[in-house]
């Protein structure tokens, strides 16, 4: 008998029952909730006269709509305010743990779950948000769900699921200096495409992944969905366990020891069989910059904007042409000649302390270039913000001309006041470069925090490896 993959183990540990056609009832250990995808689910519960099955598994936070300035004045947009107030009313009615906007623990749902130890190895974690894959970094089975499923989990603690196929993406060897988790995952998506992982759960492995911090692993798993995979995951190791230790919701004492022993099993067996295996050479990855309107449209910063005439396939070529037009780019332009208007450092992909440190290291002693209209840093949570301030990172950014904001999703999806105007070009550490994602007509280029910082101080995309160490 062949061994089990990490995903097989997580799946097997959570199956309550299986129907004849393979549909399983899967038990959910942690349910994260935010204001955008939950109101209709709570309303559904109320209409059916149902109560949540286990409120102690639910953690709620407003993040998508919250303002990143002048928090003391509340939310000025009346429609956004109603949505956040609706969450507030729902959590009170149903008795759910909640971090309101005024709580230092508030932040992006995928940042605060791990930060609080609410995400633990071996768990099933769901949220009405596709970037729930982030939590897979802990050796957890974590995936995004729709609002009907949010209601289903609230009411039954379970989900109806079909098992996905197993894919291993092995990033072999080590990346060079200046190349980060974000570059790794963008390179993976460039390789397998935005639908490459559809129908699969992806395990990220290989030495380059093992060498990443948990923050870096979260960045990689976060974007599994951009490769089409609902779930991404990394096996549990010492790095995982030391990250979890001592966090607010993590077990302690004997329970901790018992848990750690169990968590160590959450890795693929050496003889486990995968339906698909992809190998990527870490040493060959350069800092990445997306050029188009899909995350697979990505090139190394050392490269050029691709030419649709060389695409070979007519459907692909027409998609590329449409993307170039939307992005206002000419084929064959060297990437480092593309000038930018705005810089956004934030989002559940890259707003943790390590990301802010990496950006600050580039920014320190430099200034935001004159052609850059706005450069902003939006920490992932109140606690990340506080830690960054203790380390003096806020001063580094402010002195360079960046804005230093309150935590939330912000310009990752521009549901609040932070957005691009039509035609504006942004170096963004977020995860989606879809048309209009950061504001109607806005042009998004996905990059790492260090690359966003390099673009901010030079005014165009710049290979962060070429920047001389800052003065002083």
């Amino acid at each position: 008998m062949t061994g089990k993959t990490l995903y097989d183990k997580l799946w097997d540990a959570h199956v309550v029952r299986t129907e004849a056609d393979g549909t399983a009832l899967l038990y959910i250990d942690r349910h994260l909730v935010h204001e955008v995808t939950s109101p209709q689910a709570f309303e559904g519960l109320r209409l059916a006269g149902r109560r949540p099955w286990r409120t102690d598994t639910v953690l709620a936070v407003p993040d998508h709509n919250v303002p990143t300035t002048h928090r003391d004045q509340g939310i000025s947009d009346p429609v956004s305010r109603v949505q956040v107030e609706t969450l507030d009313a729902n959590v009170h009615e149903f008795g759910i743990t909640f971090f309101p906007m005024t709580d230092v623990r508030q932040g992006i749902v995928h940042v605060i779950g791990p930060e609080q130890g609410a995400t633990l190895p071996g768990m099933t974690v769901v949220c009405g948000d596709s970037h729930t894959s982030t939590h897979g970094a802990f050796g957890a089975l974590a995936f995004g769900i729709g609002t009907s499923e949010v209601e289903h989990v609230l009411a039954t603690q379970c989900l109806l699921q079909k098992k996905m196929k197993n894919m291993l993406v092995s990033v072999d060897g080590q990346v060079g200096p200046g190349v980060t988790a974000k570059d790794i995952v963008l390179a993976i998506i460039g390789e397998i495409g935005t639908a490459g992982g559809t129908g699969y759960a992806i395990e990220f492995g290989g030495d380059a992944i093992r060498a990443l911090s948990v923050e870096g692993r979260m960045t990689v798993c976060n974007m599994a969905i951009e490769a089409g995979a609902r779930a991404g995951m990394v096996a549990v190791d010492d790095t995982t366990i030391s990250y979890v230790k001592g966090r607010a919701y993590a077990p302690t004492d004997e329970l901790w020891d018992k848990a750690v022993a169990a968590w160590r099993e959450f890795k693929s067996d050496p003889d486990a069989a995968f339906d698909r295996v992809v190998h990527i050479d870490a040493a060959g990855i350069a800092p990445q910059v997306s050029w188009g309107t899909s995350p697979e449209m990505v090139v190394p910063v050392t490269g050029r904007v691709p030419d649709p005439d060389e695409a070979g396939d007519p459907v692909k070529a027409s998609g590329m042409k449409r993307a170039l037009e939307y992005m206002g780019l000419e084929a064959n332009t060297p990437v480092n000649q593309i000038a930018i208007d705005k810089v956004f450092i934030g989002s559940c992909t890259n707003s943790r302390i390590e990301d802010l440190r990496a950006a600050a290291d580039v920014v320190r002693g430099r200034r935001v270039a004159d052609n850059v209209k706005l450069a902003m840093v939006v920490p992932g949570s109140g606690l990340v913000k506080r830690q960054a301030e203790e380390e003096g990172l806020d001063k580094v950014f402010l002195e360079a001309g960046f804005e230093w904001r309150e935590p939330g999703c912000s310009m990752c999806l521009a549901m609040n006041a932070d957005r691009l105007e039509s035609g504006e070009r942004c170096a963004s550490t977020s995860n989606r470069n879809f048309e209009g994602r950061q504001g109607q007509g806005g042009r998004t280029h996905l990059v790492s925090p260090a690359m966003a910082a390099a673009a901010a101080v030079t005014g165009h995309f710049t290979d962060v490896r070429d920047l001389t160490p800052p003065p002083g």
């Binding site: 009832l25 429609v79 596709s130 729930t132 009907s148 499923e149 639908a195 129908g199 077990p251 048309e435």
Partner: protein
């Protein structure tokens, strides 16, 4: 949920691959706390030339005459013909609500993103996967034939073209059952409440840190 058995409907072709949920329903409309009313904003950025905000009077907005939904030939369409990886991106069920609110009951494409696919079934929207070559041919037929209709029969699992050709499609048994009967899957799951409790009891012994 409204049952879905057969749909004999006009087909509207959307000839783009990787249509993401941000395009299907832009974020500003996600601020709604309701499940209805998203139809006028389906494909908002492509359908209108002016930027849209919640609460606008859509009859006063500038229409993009080049977008297929604005072509009067396709008004009243119930079947959307699309390209690969339809519904990629965010988990927003609002994308499905916008399609159904507009009147779409079936989407045909060579592939769908996973979350969109499962959201569809919860709302009486049938996503049908057909071979890329077949989809190509349907695109050609739709553009050559004004008023092109397809007949979708869920029980028989067929899509029938005007020439009478019946194209078979796959659908999961459970999904089919729920859709045909308009079943609420929460009620179905709660029939297994004893199994869920038994699982919890077992887990509590194995992994007590998950029950605190």
């Amino acid at each position: 949920m409204k049952p879905l058995t057969t749909v004999d409907g006009l087909v509207v072709p959307l000839d783009r691959s990787n249509v993401d949920t941000d395009a299907i329903i832009p974020k500003q409309y996600l601020k709604s706390v309701k499940r209805t009313g998203f139809g006028p904003n389906l494909f908002d950025d492509w359908r209108y030339l002016d930027p849209g905000e919640p609460g606008m009077d859509h009859s006063k907005r500038r229409i993009n005459p080049d977008f297929v939904l604005n072509d009067p030939h396709y008004w009243g369409a119930e079947i959307l013909l699309a390209r690969k990886n339809f519904g990629c991106g965010s988990s927003r069920e609002h994308a499905v609500w916008a399609l159904t609110d507009y009147g779409i009951r079936v989407v045909i494409a060579p592939s769908f993103a996973d979350i969109f696919f499962s959201n569809s079934f919860k709302n009486g929207l049938l996503p049908i996967v057909l071979d890329e070559a077949v989809v190509d041919r349907l695109f050609a037929e739709v553009s050559a034939t004004p008023g092109y209709r397809l007949n979708v029969d869920l029980a028989a699992q067929t899509v029938t073209t005007p020439s009478g050709e019946a194209i078979p499609f796959e659908v999961g048994e459970f999904h089919k059952h729920c859709l045909l009967n308009g079943l609420d899957d929460i009620a179905l799951t709660l029939e297994h409440a004893d199994d869920i409790r038994a699982y919890e009891q077992r887990r509590r012994a194995e992994a007590p840190w998950l029950f605190r």
